[in-house]
């Protein structure tokens, strides 16, 4: 590290020692090109590639969010429908409590927390994957 830096400095001091510039007449188009920029730079400069990565992150997170919302919608929207279509369910007694009271007054809250917990885990994993992907190159 130190050596290289020292070398660089000495090169600056003696510009005359630099190799002569040569004109390249035939670019090697067939050779595999290495990425010019890091992916964070692609994102910063809003290149097409950067946009593709950003869109994929947003889409993954949106898909996860909508999945949880759909599940929630089925439970929350389904319960009144269930009580409407099968009125006998409203009078079923579980553990000495009417079913609607047991569900809406108690059990639904731990379900919310569980759903939230699973969501947080997945969302953090998505972000970690994205960060790994972007930082690697």
């Amino acid at each position: 590290m130190t050596e290289r830096r020292a070398g660089g400095r000495s090169a600056e001091r003696r510009p005359a020692d630099r190799p002569r510039r040569e004109v390249v007449t035939s670019p090697r188009t067939l050779a595999a090109r290495r990425p010019r920029y890091s992916l964070t730079r692609e994102i910063d400069e809003q290149t097409q590639l950067g946009e593709v990565y950003m869109r994929s992150l947003v889409r993954t997170q949106l898909r996860l969010g909508l999945f949880v919302c759909t599940l929630l919608g089925c439970v929350v929207g389904g319960l009144p429908l269930l009580f409407l279509l099968v009125p006998e369910l409203r009078e079923v007694s579980v553990l000495g409590l009417p079913l609607p009271w047991l569900l809406l007054g108690g059990l639904i809250y731990p379900l919310f927390v569980l759903g939230g917990h699973l969501y947080v885990r997945s969302a953090e994993r998505n972000e970690r994957d994205f960060a790994d992907l972007v930082d690697r190159t």
């Binding site: 964070t40 994102i43 929630l72 009144p80 809250y109």
Partner: protein
């Protein structure tokens, strides 16, 4: 119920609030102090602070009252107020924190790069804030009347003055730990009396709540009326009366014939044990078995239930005093974890009001006759637990209720005053002071003029307005690049406007009956879809109005903070 302990409890809570406010000035002066200080705060404390600010008089008193009056359908109210945080968690919590926005107008400006949209958002924040503050002041009046016998306007004025002084002195709001403490105080103030109530119920032989037949007075009961009411008597009953009944002064035995009766305020009626409880005109007379069933309590119950679900689940994210607390999280990841903890804390709290409502059906059915079902939480402890212990428990509940009024009102007042000062009066310390007074006076005047509505009902309307305006703005703003300035503006105006009109009609002219009544009292089921639709269609029709910096904003909203990327240089003007 007048008691020295109750007065003492209210005085202690008010004094503590004022003192903490006074010392708070030294602890934190600016938003950035607040922000830096909170970096050391763990998600659990942060979540407690959100809970402490969020659980208002509507949650502390109102939910139990509505459950007592309408039964199982009202269980959706606390479910929605908790579930709203799940929707908030999965759709907006982390991006919102990453936006760096301090208020909803900040977010509108950051995402849409338009001052016009910012102004519309500001007006909506003020409207929602006032709508939320009004019932807090109203029920503070009721609680103080219950505890001390003071006229109804005193309690509201007291809360308004304490909040204004506090906000003007700059304290209270900024201290996360104070708000966090409020959560645990409210939880204790409901849970501890409930334990004694359940012990008393157990000792009473655990009577069934969902009996056949309508509610009856379990023992001889004297009912006093704080306001004029019209009651419906289902079966002729002999009572002992004093006061003005049906326009004539009565003092002694009286037979209340079947039908409607006008009872003037300050009248007292003594019912024998076993008499049917007459209901105040606007409450449904349900048998206890019907009461325990969902889809039974109100007109058009299926529509009302779905509309309530939509308003509460989607409205939570649009409340002005909730968003600002997310700013105190260090990053998006912490914002998510905080929201998860909020879900758990609110879930624990909301287990309690339902039990109060059910116990009230057994032991305080006279509230169905006075129409003051909001008082059930305050009435039950002294009814079931006698002596000094009962009075102490009542005092604890009154303290919790006042803590609820003060913490929520402070949070809302700061948010509303900040917006009025910044966006309407042009900013600066002087503007903020004027704005604070305005922020408190308007809802206080409304509270004194408007008819007394159930606190949780009015707060429900505030949720409906938030769900029809800010929910589409936040959700589409965070996830949809093609949202345009024109589209956002059109959606905010249409959704917020329609919901606002429905609310105004319900509060000023209501209650209406039939389908119109249901549509106006629970507007979310039609205003939320309309708002989303308008925002999307107008955005698609005006593709040139997509904000120039949308790509950079998306990077800012969605990339984890660990990545070193360019997030733009926008900063909220209120921070």
């Amino acid at each position: 119920m007048s008691s020295a302990y109750g007065v003492g409890a209210v005085v202690v809570v008010v004094l503590a609030t004022v003192l903490i406010g006074a010392f708070g000035i030294r602890l934190s002066r600016t938003t950035s102090d607040f922000y830096v200080a909170s970096r050391t705060v763990s998600p659990l404390w942060n979540a407690s602070a959100i809970g402490g600010e969020y659980l208002s008089g509507a949650s502390f008193l109102g939910v139990a009252g509505l459950i007592l009056a309408y039964g199982a359908d009202m269980l959706w109210l606390p479910v929605g107020w908790t579930g709203g945080y799940l929707v908030l968690l999965v759709l907006i919590s982390a991006p919102l924190r990453r936006s760096g926005a301090y208020t909803l107008p900040d977010f509108a400006e950051a995402r849409l790069e338009s001052m016009a949209v910012r102004r519309v958002a500001s007006v909506l924040v003020v409207l929602i804030g006032w709508l939320y503050l009004m019932p807090q002041f109203q029920s503070a009046g009721l609680v103080l009347r219950g505890v001390t016998g003071a006229p109804v306007w005193v309690g509201g004025l007291l809360v308004a003055v304490v909040v204004a002084v506090n906000v003007l002195s700059g304290g209270m709001r900024s201290i996360t730990f104070v708000q966090a403490f409020q959560y645990w105080l409210k939880l204790t103030a409901l849970a501890l009396p409930l334990m004694f109530i359940l012990l008393a119920w157990n000792a009473d032989g655990r009577p069934d709540v969902a009996r056949e037949g309508p509610p009856v007075f379990a023992e001889q009961t004297t009912v006093s009326f704080p306001t004029d009411v019209v009651v419906k008597v289902a079966r002729a009953t002999g009572v002992t009366a004093s006061g003005v009944i049906d326009g004539a002064r009565v003092d002694g035995p009286l037979t209340l014939a079947e039908g409607r009766h006008q009872v003037s305020h300050d009248a007292e009626l003594t019912f024998p044990a076993g008499a049917l409880v007459p209901h105040v005109e606007n409450l449904p007379a349900l048998t206890d078995a019907e009461w325990a069933l969902p889809l039974q309590g109100r007109d058009h119950p299926v529509y009302a239930t779905y509309s309530l679900i939509l308003a509460t689940f989607l409205g939570t994210m649009g409340l002005p005093h909730v968003l600002v607390r997310f700013y105190t999280n260090p990053d998006g990841r912490a914002a998510r974890r905080t929201t998860l903890a909020v879900l758990a804390l609110l879930g624990a709290f909301y287990l309690l009001p339902a039990v109060y409502g059910a116990m009230g059906r057994l032991y305080t059915p006279e509230l169905l006759m006075t129409g003051r079902t909001d008082a059930v939480v305050l009435t039950l402890p002294s009814r079931l637990v006698g002596g000094t212990l009962g009075e102490l428990l009542t005092a604890l509940v009154a303290a919790g209720a006042f803590a609820a009024f003060l913490s929520t009102s402070s949070g809302l007042t700061v948010s509303v005053a900040g917006v009025i000062g910044q966006d309407i009066l042009g900013g600066g310390v002087r503007a903020f002071r004027v704005a604070t007074v305005l922020a408190v006076i308007a809802p206080l005047t409304l509270a004194m003029m408007a008819r007394a509505l159930a606190v949780a009902d009015v707060v429900g309307l505030a949720f409906a307005v938030a769900a029809s305006s800010f929910c589409p703005l936040l959700v589409l703003g965070i996830w949809w690049r093609r949202l345009t300035t024109t589209g956002a503006m059109a959606g905010l105006l249409t959704g917020g406007g329609l919901a606002g009109l429905a609310v105004a009609a319900t509060i000023i002219g209501g209650p209406f009956s039939g389908w119109w009544g249901a549509l106006l009292a629970q507007p979310a089921a039609w205003t939320v879809p309309i708002s989303f639709l308008v925002m999307i269609v107008v955005s698609l029709a005006t593709p040139r109005k997509v904000p120039a910096g949308v790509a950079r904003t998306m990077v800012r909203l969605h990339t984890p903070e660990t990545l070193n990327v360019d997030r733009g240089d926008w900063h909220p003007r209120s921070a």
